[in-house]
């Protein structure tokens, strides 16, 4: 099975703790740089203004916290799903695009790169990667976005992904499992009565509910933590429970197959047990994913993020002016310079990721 040898398995599966650590580190690193630069400005403001103004100012430009960043990204991931649906892209494009966004913001922080730009490029790139290509011109026309902005962000996004572009997402596994279910039904004697009779309308319903469960899971960290097969099984289980059908006999069947093929040395019961405990964790991700993000809340966060970006940009521009560099570099050139600076496939950006253990 190629997931086993995939770049995803090797480099893009984490424990929740590792995820938290990666994000906190990058977040702090950006803050450290910017606050160092900001200090003199704040002092200046204090000298001229009256006492409480800077405090208010500081509150308005307070950078989003890690939790707020997460809420923002979840909101945008949902938007990406909607956009992809509107474009009529196959699921694989949507899933790849969302996963690109998630991976990108393990390498970088929203404090550095506005997710609004990144998400458009992520969708455009996912279309290319998944061979469901749509031209940049048409893509941008339909979204009323600037083509140049989408294209010029592409190298940065690739960099943030360490050029790992093949993604494994639960959608195709889910199709596979439902097809397996139908095969089991044909075979007979494998499933319990309820599952054996899961057909027609209720099957359609279960399928739709399972797909919705995957959609919700894709908005959380679950795809960065669990293999796609497990997510698909958990989603299928939740789909079956929507039509009040227990899933146990199919799960045993899956475990039996896994055991027969000797992938893991464990017994069938162990595999079932292991899966059930994974399901419990996945379900809590699912619950989190199906909770709507408050749009007003997001707007506020977004405004603060913008303010933060503007302040940071102004600061670095004035520094560049000092060096007489400001006008000599186009935006793209600067981006490349930065990208180079950040390192390549094996550069510093890769370092925290390299700590990731599972092989």
């Amino acid at each position: 099975m190629n997931f086993e040898t995939s770049s995803q398995r090797k480099r893009w599966v984490f424990s929740p703790e590792e995820l938290a650590e990666l994000r906190a580190k990058r977040h702090q690193a950006v803050l450290d740089i910017v606050t160092k630069e900001e200090t003199p400005q704040l002092e200046g403001a204090e000298q001229t203004g009256n006492g409480d103004k800077p405090a208010k100012q500081a509150k308005k430009t307070r950078p989003p916290s890690l939790a707020e960043e997460a809420a923002l990204l979840k909101y945008y991931a949902g938007k990406m799903q909607d956009m992809c649906r509107a474009f009529g892209f196959p699921n694989k494009v949507q899933a790849a695009a969302v996963l690109f966004l998630k991976r990108f913001y393990l390498t970088y922080s929203t404090l550095e790169h506005d997710p609004k730009n990144v998400l458009l490029t992520a969708i455009y790139l996912a279309g290319k990667v998944e061979e469901a290509y749509i031209g940049a011109e048409e893509f941008c026309k339909r979204l009323q976005q600037d083509e140049e902005a989408v294209l010029s962000t592409e190298p940065l996004v690739l960099q943030g992904l360490s050029f790992d572009l093949i993604t494994y997402t639960p959608y195709s596994s889910l199709s596979g499992y439902f097809a397996d279910l139908e095969d089991c039904q044909k075979e007979g004697g494998v499933l319990d009565e309820a599952l054996q009779e899961l057909k027609g309308e209720s099957l359609t319903k279960a399928r739709a509910a399972a797909k919705a469960a995957v959609d919700a899971l894709m908005l959380t960290d679950a795809p960065l933590v669990f293999p796609p097969g497990q997510l698909a099984l958990a989603a299928m289980r939740s789909g079956c429970s929507k039509v009040k059908i227990l899933f146990g006999s199919f799960l045993s069947r899956v475990a039996k197959k896994a055991q027969e093929e000797g992938r893991s040395g464990s017994s069938q019961e162990d595999i079932v047990q292991e899966l059930r405990s994974a399901f419990a964790r996945i379900d809590s991700y699912g619950a989190e994913g199906s909770q709507q993000v408050n749009a007003d809340e997001v707007k506020k966060i977004d405004r603060r993020l913008k303010a933060f970006h503007t302040a940071a940009k102004a600061k670095s521009a004035s520094q560049h002016k000092d060096n007489g560099l400001e006008k000599s570099k186009s935006a793209t050139q600067q981006m490349f310079k930065e990208a180079e600076h950040q390192g390549s496939m094996h550069g510093p950006a890769d370092e925290p990721l390299a700590k990731r253990l599972k092989t």
């Binding site: 190629n2 596979g176 197959k257």
Partner: protein, 460 residues
């Protein structure tokens, strides 16, 4: 870029320049392909993107390794392991004798590379001699994934038939099939096998029609009985019925088992074509003579314009070259096919892995969700449905596959390879036109077809 010391220019491709370079710390000799991004209207072009995304997933001693990718100025630099020569140079070099055991060794390495691709659900789609690079230590690796793509996804639309250099293009693609699998690579591999035996291309067609003519002249015209479904392919053309020639009359010196394998690789009906994995298990590879150990294979001619100049200019690099161990492979005589072919049979729906529904079984047509995983193992033999346009593509018009956007040579560009070849041909007084690459005519054709695709589907 600071990590590398730039050496001489190896070639100029359609999308950029290829340089030889040396890693300053590890001393490894590499080929760096620079892809210019500046004016790109579509960002990073599909060819480069395919190459990056697929090579990053593939790690095999029989596939050229992509060591690094980084942006530099307004370029994207792709760093590959460097290999000195390629199979085309070797075949063309009349001074080199390729023994039956050598042919077997090359075919074994070729097929192992293909097994690796197909196991990862990748179709190479540009198998031909100059895409197999050869190191001085005799290892052969598959390169240039610019036309390659993933296959077997239930949501896949139709694939373009405009892939492969014409001489290696399988008959179903010449007939316009847009629904195909790993058997397309096997056809081309069969053509390479034949070329190793003949020391010239087997089917050097000068147009698509001529290509089919040359194929059928040797292998006989297909009928609905010998190749079910062939007459309903989009661009099926009737040929005057011709019987197949016995392969023995074309390959006089080849062994029986070699011809038996070859026949299975160039079966006209793609569903009857042997898979890469089965081909490796063919008696041909077990029978005497044993395949030559790579280190004892003939030394390939270096693809340089002027070997003397190269030696003078980059002597340090040249000396270093043989010492470069290419990738993970430290191969000795006892090449172990088992090691290179991790269990294909273990692809399955398990608790820990994603499943991937089968590509082309008839069930795919019935169920939008695609067939279950267990059928995927038989993807190669998965029936003639491979060439019947699936019903669900009508119901669910997925965006069309980007047509082949052009050729990007391997570590050495097409341009230079052709240049070399012309030179090689004049050197040996061999009469043949330059080998075709995907030419502009082909590309125009693709574009035309793309427009047609927007209209309701023609006969499927």
């Amino acid at each position: 870029m600071d990590k590398y010391e730039k050496g001489e220019k190896l070639g100029q491709g359609q999308f950029g320049v290829v340089y030889k370079a040396r890693h300053k710390e590890t001393e490894q000799i590499v080929a760096i392909k620079k892809i210019h991004l500046g004016k790109a209207k579509e960002g990073i072009n599909m060819t480069a993107l395919r190459e990056i995304k697929l090579l990053k997933e593939l790690e095999s001693p029989y596939i050229v390794r992509l060591l690094d990718v980084f942006p530099h100025k307004r370029n994207l630099s792709l760093v590959y392991e460097f290999l000195d020569s390629d199979l085309e140079c070797l075949i063309r070099d009349r001074a080199t004798i390729i023994s039956a055991a050598d042919v077997k060794s090359y075919m074994q390495m070729l097929l192992k590379g293909l097994v690796s691709c197909h196991m990862h659900w990748i179709l190479h789609r540009d198998i031909k001699p100059n895409n197999f690079l050869i190191s001085m230590s005799g290892e052969m690796k598959l390169a240039d994934f610019g036309l390659a793509r993933m296959f077997g996804h239930p949501e896949d639309g139709r694939y373009t038939s405009q892939v492969f250099t014409r001489w290696y293009r399988p008959p179903e693609l010449l007939f316009g099939s847009t629904c195909y699998g790993p058997s397309v690579d096997m056809w081309a591999a069969g053509c390479v096998f034949a070329e190793l035996l003949l020391r010239r291309a087997w089917f050097p067609g000068d147009s698509d029609l001529d290509q089919l003519g040359k194929i059928f002249q040797a292998l006989g015209t297909p009928t609905e009985a010998s190749w079910p479904g062939c007459t309903s392919l989009p661009q099926y053309v009737d040929f005057n019925p011709t019987p197949a020639q016995p392969l023995r009359t074309i390959f006089r010196q080849a062994s029986e088992d070699a011809l038996a394998l070859l026949a299975q690789m160039v079966a006209l009906d793609p569903s009857r074509r042997i898979s890469a994995r089965d081909a490796l298990a063919h008696p041909y590879f077990r029978n005497a003579p044993q395949p030559t150990p790579p280190s004892q294979l003939p030394k390939p001619p270096v693809r340089a314009h002027n070997p003397l100049k190269l030696a003078a200019k980059g002597s340090s690099i040249l000396q270093a070259a043989p010492a470069v161990q290419t990738g993970p492979m430290k191969q000795n005589g006892s090449s172990n096919p088992g090691a290179a072919m991790p269990e294909l049979g273990t692809e399955s729906t398990t608790a820990t892995t994603g499943s991937r529904p089968a590509p082309f079984s008839t069930a795919a047509a019935a169920s939008v969700d695609g067939p279950p995983t267990k059928r995927q193992r038989g993807s190669d033999g998965s029936s003639a449905a491979a060439d019947v346009v699936r019903e669900d593509s009508k119901a669910n018009p997925a965006p069309q596959e980007e047509p082949a956007s052009g050729m990007l040579g391997g570590p050495v560009s097409e341009h230079d390879a052709r240049e070399d070849e012309r030179r090689a041909l004049t050197d040996i007084g061999f009469e043949a036109g330059p080998r075709p690459v995907l030419d502009m005519e082909d590309l125009r054709d693709t574009r035309k077809r793309k427009l047609n695709w927007d209209a309701p589907l023609n006969g499927g």
